[in-house]
């Protein structure tokens, strides 16, 4: 009897979680007809925003994966002094409000910031430029990937890596041929999380890169610009972003389970 009550409690909790998290998303599509979705894509600014979001989030993701994967591997496989401090510092942007991230980026890479004149001397312009959007996205999204990749590498069977080395594989070869494929599923979910965070980025982008159609106005900024005078268009563009994000999440999950990345079938 008591066991049944507990089970009911569990299901009730799951039902509440599911309802609360999905109802607002359902509401977007209740208020938006498929026609609205399509006609919102007919608008040049909306298409520009979508294209810019894809471009900048992919660029940020490439930087994150290329630099982040070896860094996460190091953190997962080596013990060194100050390691936990490094891990904490890397995770800090996870808990920073976007406004703080925006201010921090301006204070470091803005024209008046710490590295402002150095960047200027090098001919690099970030604020109010597409490159600035990529910097903002990389800053906020990287910790999501690093965290997941680090956990995934830590879970790789050390005996496998040792065996590979005993058989004569170099450290680098063991990393590429054994560690990365074995951690494939965790890496894939890290990519999905970081990509989702990058696509949704708003505050840091606005403060650091600004908002201009085709240059710096990503989909969330375009939604915000429409919120005030055209709620239907804002809803429709939100619907498009939900669909794109869901498709990305799904495809990365499917890819993570595929044998290519060494994942196991469920």
């Amino acid at each position: 009897m008591r066991r049944a009550a507990f089970a009911v409690g569990l299901f009730l909790a799951l039902f509440l979680v599911l309802a609360f998290l999905t109802l607002p998303i359902v509401a977007i599509f209740v208020h938006t007809s498929p026609g609205d979705l399509i006609s919102s894509l007919g608008e040049q600014d909306a298409r520009d925003a979508l294209w810019l979001s894809l471009k900048t989030s992919l660029a940020a993701l490439a930087i994150i994966v290329i630099v982040g994967t070896p860094a996460a591997y190091l953190l997962a496989t080596r013990e060194f002094r100050g390691r936990s401090v490094v891990v904490t510092l890397i995770e800090l942007p996870l808990v920073l409000p976007p406004a703080v991230a925006g201010i921090a980026l301006l204070a470091s890479f803005g024209p008046e910031g710490l590295f402002g004149s150095a960047l200027d001397d090098a001919g690099i312009q970030l604020v109010l430029q597409t490159a600035g959007v990529i910097v903002a996205l990389t800053f906020v999204a990287a910790p999501f990937y690093l965290r997941q990749a680090q956990e995934a590498f830590a879970a790789v069977d050390r005996n496998l890596l040792d065996a590979a080395r005993t058989l004569g594989a170099s450290e680098a070869r063991a990393f590429i041929r054994i560690a990365v494929p074995s951690a494939g599923q965790g890496i894939a979910s890290g990519i999905a999380l970081a990509w989702g965070r990058a696509l949704g980025e708003f505050g840091a982008t606005l403060m650091f890169a600004g908002s201009f159609p085709g240059i710096t106005q990503t989909v969330p900024l375009a939604i915000f610009a429409r919120f005030s005078d055209d709620f239907t268009a804002a809803l429709a563009l939100s619907g498009v972003l939900v669909i794109v994000s869901a498709a990305l999440l799904l495809s990365v999950k499917v890819l993570g389970r595929s044998p290519i990345l060494g994942g196991r079938a469920p």
Binding site: P111, G116, L128, M207, G210, F224, A225, S228
Partner: protein, 196 residues
């Protein structure tokens, strides 16, 4: 209290959010909401001046300087009052000058604070804001007045929201903006009293 762009607050009221008072940076949004029956008769409680703001050490000193290629300008998004006032001003300029200025616009911001923030951080060369925002920047920005014949009529309207939980308090708040401490605080911040 909830502070946000006038248009966002109006959108929230249209979505059923019910504060007691709605105060906006223009009169058209309160007028529209009044027509839709969402707020009572609006009262003009202050006026302001649209200016060109530049960092203190800037070489720019007129609208004409904004036409130089490579000048980066930030202005309000067309959907927010500061952005629509700015376009009102620019639309009165000769076509070639107007085009040269629009070509230099690098960001359309959703509120005034992100415009002045970009200017104080050196992220942009010039921006259109209200004179009160320059007052608030404590000396970091410098004002360039717009030609008087281009100056838009920047008036602020407030109204009691229909169905307010505390309508008496709401009316008292609006009256407090017109006289006494409220009016004094507005004056110190650089606002001008309503005409008449």
């Amino acid at each position: 209290m909830s502070f946000a762009g006038s248009d966002e607050l109006a959108a929230q009221i249209r979505q059923g959010v019910k504060p007691d008072v709605y105060a906006a940076a223009n009169t058209s949004l309160p007028d529209q909401l009044h027509k839709e029956g969402l707020v009572g008769e609006p009262t003009v409680f202050a006026t302001n001046t649209l200016v060109l703001a530049v960092p203190q050490d800037s070489q720019i000193d007129s609208l004409d300087d904004l036409t130089k290629p490579g000048t980066s300008i930030v202005m309000g998004d067309p959907t927010v009052p500061v952005g629509s006032y700015t376009r009102e001003v620019l639309d009165h300029l000769p076509a070639d000058q107007r085009k040269a200025i629009y070509d230099n616009v690098r960001s359309e911001e959703p509120d005034v604070s992100s415009i002045s923030g970009k200017l104080t951080q050196g992220a942009a060369d010039a921006g259109f804001v209200y004179i009160t925002d320059v007052t608030a920047s404590s000396g970091q920005l410098k004002v360039i007045q717009l030609p008087a014949d281009l100056q838009p009529n920047v008036a602020y309207g407030a109204a009691v929201v229909t169905g307010a939980t505390n309508p008496d308090g709401a009316r008292a708040f609006i009256e407090g903006l017109l006289s006494g401490d409220g009016a004094r605080a507005l004056k110190e911040a650089g606002f001008k009293p309503p005409p008449g």
